[in-house]
Amino acid sequence: MHEYSLVSALVQRAEAEARTRRATAVTRLRVRIGALAGVEPELLASAFTLCREGLLRDASLEIETAEAVWACPSCDTALAAGAVLRCPGCGLPARLVSGDELMLEQIEMEVP
């Protein structure tokens, strides 16, 4: 359940940003979570609801998800989900194009 530690990182980061901008509240955070980030979006959402505090106590969390996309680093052939992660043509180990994102994208706040 590392989702709580992620929420605490999010809250601290957004609080710091809100203070430097003299915001009265943080209203929304947008995050992007890849399928291979090791984070369960539902757990993150419930951890956020339980642990938001301070300037974030009424904030909502918008979670964008990203599928895992694998491709050959040489010829860019995409590999199907569940396939062996080697290019059938070149034999090279596949490269993860997207899917490991664990990003804070946007902070929305109220500024007087």
Binding site: A9, L36, G38, V84, L85, Q106, I107, V111, P112
Partner: protein, 244 residues
């Protein structure tokens, strides 16, 4: 106060951040990594389920390496210092991290534990992570390599169930191989599952008890360590400056 109409409502401001949620941990990990590289220490993040045989593996590793290499360890557990005590008994100076309820180690915990082990003198620093196939994979500790211990008894499909952990692995050790005759588990099936989550598949079937696979594991470690030294020498030639 609203500037445009004077209505008194606060403005909503959206700020684009585009930053890793774990950027604080990433910074601490980078700091650890610079320390280890400058001191020529190969830091190994050893992960795996509870009971996968991580401590037994380190004990057997120490028995084969301790006469020619300086080993040290940081052992993370929710409760007790038992793993650390076993490693100390195997002549591996070990700092224990008791995490309480935390399911993983993070870079700052590792950094704090460095005060309790003479890590600058080492050739290898093994970080035995908390037994867990999920959370430890998310946190960079500043290690040079990730090694995952997967025991034969955990079944053939574990890699498919925990792709995040196995994707991060530089090497998977298939432990407790001595149990093979007693189980309906095929090494080939484990290999096939791994190939679907780990692009540059590296698997060593191993038994700390019988010793099979130990030579290959030690050779893998030594090759990584030699690579670290070559990298450090090249770095020294590039620009000779002291590291803090």
């Amino acid at each position: 106060m609203c500037d445009s109409c004077g209505c008194g409502d606060p403005h909503k401001v959206s700020l684009d951040v585009q930053e890793r949620i774990l950027s604080v941990n990433d910074r601490a990990a980078r700091h650890n990594r610079e320390h280890f590289a400058a001191a020529g220490v190969l830091a190994v993040n050893l992960m795996g389920s509870p009971g996968a045989g991580k401590t037994a593996l380190l004990e057997a590793t120490a028995a084969r390496l301790a006469d020619r290499r300086r080993l040290g360890a940081i052992a993370g557990d929710l409760e007790t210092e038992r793993d650390a005590e076993r490693l100390r008994a195997a002549r591996v100076p070990t700092a224990a991290i008791t995490t309480g309820s935390a399911c993983h180690l993070d870079a700052e915990m590792v950094h704090a534990a460095l005060d309790r082990v003479a890590w600058r003198e080492l050739d290898y620093l093994f970080v035995e992570n908390v037994g867990n196939l999920v959370c430890p994979a998310v946190y960079d500790l500043g290690q040079a390599v990730n090694v995952v211990a997967l025991s034969l008894t955990e079944g053939e499909d574990k890699p498919l169930k925990y792709p995040v952990m196995f994707r991060k692995a530089d090497l998977v050790l298939l432990t407790k191989l001595d149990l093979l005759p007693h189980l309906d588990v095929r090494v080939e099936a484990v290999k096939d599952a791994l190939a679907r989550v780990m692009p540059d598949l590296a698997l060593v079937p191993i038994s700390a008890r019988s010793g099979v696979g130990m030579a290959e594991w030690i050779a893998w470690l030594e090759a990584r360590r030699a690579g670290l030294e070559r990298g450090a020498a090249a770095h020294g030639q590039l620009h000779a400056h002291p590291h803090a």
